[in-house]
Symmetry: C2
Subunit: 268 residues, 2 copies
């Protein structure tokens, strides 16, 4: 999916919600565990319940990989079930030397046909660029993550006074453009969004950490919006484990969607 289509989906739906499919076989309602493919059947239910409220789905690859080859089959079926109107994110946080990143790109963009994949920046240019060579596919590079460990290295200031995550944002814009490069910025750092918009004014930001991790939608949205809205805000556990019934899951997605509608109405 290219940027124009993504922005069109967001505007037509008044939603910039991404639903994270962190589907843990031990946490899903017991009724699904009687199915042949519990993970896929649960995801199908979640997708049906949320499809009108979100513009994107983000399977967290760890949850599929942990089930071995059966998990990868569940992932394949899930991706095929997601409508083409929705932007798909492989939350895989891959990154390796060039010839290996080439293969990861092939896996997620060709074998599984995702629109985008999350990539870790530590190994630099040749770990990232192989993902940027696919037309209408996206790299979502880790910038400032939502977890407590983000303090360990991402905020280390260089001699020039630039925190590491800002070096990542700045440098990566030499490799990709706002048409194929987004950044992960955790919702748990709402005070950082204005500063980040100065460094990366045009890139989309994928924002995890509302819901269970406690990020505040309103403040990060106001500071994070750009002319194309420019945000995909993800909720995983807060939606998919909102209750045992499809209606509970729909309600959780709808609540976030309503908040997004209000914010978009006020600011655009």
């Amino acid at each position: 999916m290219n940027r124009k289509e993504l922005v069109k989906q967001i505007k037509s739906k008044s939603s910039y919600l991404c639903v994270g499919l962190d589907t843990d076989i031990h946490k899903i309602p017991s009724i699904f565990r009687q199915c042949d493919d519990p993970i896929f059947e649960f995801n199908k239910m979640v997708i049906d319940a949320t499809v009108d409220h979100c513009v994107s789905y983000k399977p967290n690859i760890a949850f599929y990989e942990a089930e071995g080859s059966k998990g990868w089959e569940s992932l394949q079926k899930t991706i095929e079930y997601i409508p083409d109107s929705h932007f798909t994110i492989a939350d895989a946080k891959r990154g390796d030397i060039g010839n290996t990143s080439n293969l990861y790109a092939k896996t997620f963009f060709k074998t599984y046909e995702f629109d985008s994949v999350t990539v870790a920046p530590y190994m630099g240019v040749d770990s990232v660029t192989p993902f940027l060579e696919y037309l209408d596919k996206w790299v979502i590079l880790l910038g400032l993550t939502s977890n407590t460990g983000s303090q360990d290295f991402q905020n280390i200031e260089s001699k020039e006074g630039e925190p590491l995550f800002e070096s990542v944002l700045r440098k990566a814009q030499e490799w990709g453009s706002p048409d194929n490069l987004m950044f992960v910025i955790g919702a748990t750092h709402p005070q950082m969004f204005s500063r980040i918009r100065k460094i990366a004014p045009n890139n989309f930001l994928l924002v995890p950490g509302v819901g269970t991790q406690g990020g505040d939608l309103e403040s990060l949205s106001i500071a994070g919006f750009n002319d194309d809205i420019g945000l995909l805000v993800n909720s995983s556990r807060g939606i998919i484990y909102a209750g045992d019934k499809p209606a509970d899951i729909k309600k959780a997605a709808e609540t976030l969607h309503e908040s997004m509608k209000s914010l978009l109405n006020e600011h655009f």
Copy 2:
């Protein structure tokens, strides 16, 4: 495998060679492509040819993942085929928020029973510690990698004059010990090994980048040895694609083994 056993294997064999199983279905001899499971059959041949010369095998997970669920089956069979005497490394470069890293650890340590997994440090403490909670299992954390992109971020100097990779080496030693934490240091930086041994004197170093990437075994070994030898030097393409015949592959591993024997004889 614990440290004592690993050191015993290295000393009894006079080898600190790790063979990287970067098995690319498009590069293996055509005869294997007629098998039901070409990747596994090729790996089996490589393991048989090299088992006397190395102490470790490192499947590069990208190559298996790229083949979908069938690739994961090849990986499972490969791991089961590697003798218990050999230290196994899942070269996966994973790293995510705590609950997700938990799952990655479960995948590689329980589902696939690897001894160790490579982990990317960017997301900090809670992305790494879940891997450290397994007895006799190891984290191999990216420090200074062998690729050209290692220059982009790993060498950024902090205000205190410390390059990022050194901050990683220093900080990570608060999380793990030389009994469960190794570092990846690329063979393409031989001049850095003395300095690295000042910061991490006791940890094992996994050293990729000899062979195809051009690192020099002798200089990095002399500077990198510690009392327990402390090195695992990896060669992937230089061994597994050394020729079409098992004898070619054996010869390539044997040549590195002979160099290692001489270096160990001189220095221990």
